[in-house]
């Protein structure tokens, strides 16, 4: 086994890990506030990638501006979805909210993916790169795009952590996730924070989609794998735990990259690296249904 090959795989794993963490943090955030698993998260990621692409090619945005623009657009779209489709989740008259959440978000994913197939076309698109060129450290060569993704992704995650832990809105979100009624008693408008949580989760997924687009390309079904991987991460890190999903995101990215490096048959390794993550998910669910680092108060009924 070549040492530099391992190093390259480890670096790639870290970059993918950042992307996974961005997607998974959104799933966790939405779960802890709305108490639903967002099965349409991968499609918001896809939407973010395409929005950035069209902002660059049609509106002439610079790549970084397109990233911010796509986050803003998908943030607004998230509010729209939450206001139109998810309000029955808070109504006391709705029975079996779990079921409603599963089917509505699953249907939303189906709708978005098929709409994208028509509007954007089935062919893979590739936006211009954020930072052309290659970074060399000794024998290790990494494209600047990957470095850019890792840096911006990490900054976004740090910003989210700051928002969740140091600002009054973040504290309010945490309060709503712990107890909706108590939050209402101290004057938090829970309805508004439902929208905020869904929109922030959507915007983070959009950022991940826009960041990954120059490295892998865009296609309407690009969201399926990150979506499933984000469940792996969220289950590993514990439903509702932001820190846990960040850690698990890195872990899964690295584990998959090194799994690919160590398996002798390369084509098989590529397809089984996804099955590997999913297998881990199944085993964790069997052994500890709340995830490895799940917080007790957000356990689903």
């Amino acid at each position: 086994m070549d040492y530099s090959y391992l190093a390259i795989q480890a670096t790639n794993g870290a970059v993918i890990g950042v992307i996974y963490a961005l997607v998974a943090v959104g799933v966790t955030l939405i779960f802890s506030i709305l108490k639903i698993v967002n099965f349409a998260h991968g499609d918001l990621y896809m939407l973010g990638g395409y929005t950035a692409y069209y902002l660059i090619t049609l509106a002439g945005f610079p790549p970084l501006g397109a990233l911010v623009g796509s986050m803003a657009a998908v943030f607004a779209f998230g509010i729209l979805i939450e206001r139109t489709m998810l309000t029955p989740l808070y109504s006391p008259r709705t029975e079996r909210k779990d079921e409603y959440g599963i089917i509505v978000t699953f249907g939303l994913a189906f709708f978005l993916r098929n709409t994208a197939l028509i509007v954007f076309g089935p062919f893979a698109l590739k936006p211009p790169s954020f930072a052309p060129g290659v970074l060399r450290i000794g024998a290790l060569a990494v494209t600047n795009d990957r470095v850019f993704v890792a840096v911006v992704g990490t900054l976004l995650i740090l910003a989210l952590l700051y928002f969740m832990n140091r600002t009054i809105w973040g504290q309010a979100l945490d309060a709503v996730s712990q107890s909706r009624d108590s939050a209402a008693i101290v004057g938090i408008n829970a309805g508004r924070f439902n929208s905020l949580a869904y929109a922030v989760g959507a915007a983070l997924a959009a950022a991940a989609g826009a960041l990954i687009a120059p490295i892998f390309s865009l296609s309407p079904d690009m969201g399926i794998l990150p979506n499933i991987n984000s469940y792996v991460i969220v289950i590993l890190g514990g439903m509702g735990s932001v820190g846990g999903s960040i850690a698990a995101g890195f872990l899964l990215g690295e584990a998959q990259a090194l799994f690919t490096a160590f398996l002798p048959d390369p084509t098989r390794a590529l397809s089984y690296s996804n099955a590997f993550g999913v297998l881990v998910l199944m085993i964790v669910l069997m052994v500890r249904p709340t995830g490895l680092f799940g917080r007790r108060h957000v356990r689903m009924e």
Partner: protein, 332 residues
């Protein structure tokens, strides 16, 4: 007239059987595929609508059953019927195993677990292409050695009627009541003496068996199998059919499956837009008519023969009808 709806339905099926040779080959194919979906939608409804277990891995069982049958026949040269039966039996066992494994999971956890299971099945089937031919497709033995679709048509009707009879029997018996009590409140059901674990495993096994039955028939009807039989896209189509029809009753889910499949062919000119439209209809159904679009029609239909009876008898009939199906839960 008592039992009028039953007679009406039976005569409709009979008319279909008698005039089968009058259909052209294309619409007969559509009808056969519609029945394939109907079995899937009905068994998914048994699992999700009645027992409240939201499995997203239902198509994986259809896929496992179809591949088991095709490969067994290929390896051992056993008769087609025997291969199909062993595919179904194998899937029932796997279904029971999955049901046992996810006994502790509810709601979204179960959905994620079954989603993961179906992804693994799909990845394995498409990667191990020395055995399964991967995405190139595995050639299967045809069930009948004839060019005509009529034998397949009769078989499909037979399988659908058999599946509906068995599932209808389960649903109308005490077991159906137990399943619905598990859906509403697992702990309360357990406290009332329902063997929750036993029935959860049982319903998983039965539903998986019927999914495999549909899959096995599909494989030996088309003559070719690809891993996309177990894909999420097909799973979501089954969910769309059951939800739009009404997933709390088996007949409405079956109606949804047949209706959507025919609409899909009828609207062929609209190409990809059909799926977008179905997605939108699904969202609107969930948002505004959670009991399904066919449920009100079905309830009217069931009461056809009972309108002009004396009050006391009518009340009894209404009570009986109320026992048959869950009354509009969630319909705010």
């Amino acid at each position: 007239m008592r039992g009028l709806p039953t007679y009406l339905l039976a005569s409709l099926v009979l008319a279909g059987l008698v005039y089968a040779h009058g259909f052209n080959s294309y619409w007969m194919h559509v009808t056969i595929i519609a029945m394939f979906y109907a079995i899937l939608a009905a068994s998914w409804t048994l699992l999700s609508g009645y027992a409240g277990l939201y499995s997203l891995g239902h198509m994986a069982f259809a896929s496992i059953g179809a591949y088991t049958s095709a490969l067994l026949i290929q390896w051992t040269g056993m008769p087609t019927i025997l291969g199909m039966a062993s595919g179904v039996v194998f899937c029932t066992v796997v279904g029971a195993w999955i049901g046992w494994v996810c006994l502790r999971m509810t709601g979204p956890y179960l959905a994620i677990f079954t989603l993961a299971f179906s992804e693994i099945v799909r990845i394995v089937f498409s990667t191990e292409d020395e055995v399964t031919q991967g995405m190139a497709g595995l050639h299967t033995v045809f069930l009948f050695h004839t060019d005509s679709r009529i034998p397949y048509f009769y078989t499909a009707i037979g399988l659908l009627v058999f599946s509906l009879a068995v599932m209808g029997f389960i649903v109308h018996s005490r077991w159906g009541l137990f399943l619905r009590s598990i859906r509403e409140e697992e702990q309360a059901a357990a406290a009332s003496g329902v063997r929750v674990a036993y029935f959860r495993i049982l319903v998983f096994a039965v539903a998986s068996g019927f999914a495999a039955l549909a899959g096995v028939f599909y494989g030996h009807y088309l003559g070719i199998l690809t891993p996309s039989l177990g894909s999420l896209d097909l799973m979501i189509i089954v969910v769309v059919m059951a939800v739009i029809g009404g997933m709390e009753r088996i007949p409405t889910a079956v109606g949804g499956a047949i209706g959507i499949e025919f609409l899909q062919e009828y609207l062929r000119a609209y190409g990809e837009w059909r799926l977008v439209i179905f997605g939108l209809v699904l969202l609107f159904t969930m948002r505004f008519a959670r009991n399904g679009l066919l449920t009100p029609l079905w309830l009217q239909f069931v009461r056809l023969g009972e309108v002009r009876r004396p009050v006391s008898a009518a009340a009894q009939a209404a009570a009986a009808a109320g026992e048959v199906g869950p009354q509009g839960s969630g319909g705010s």
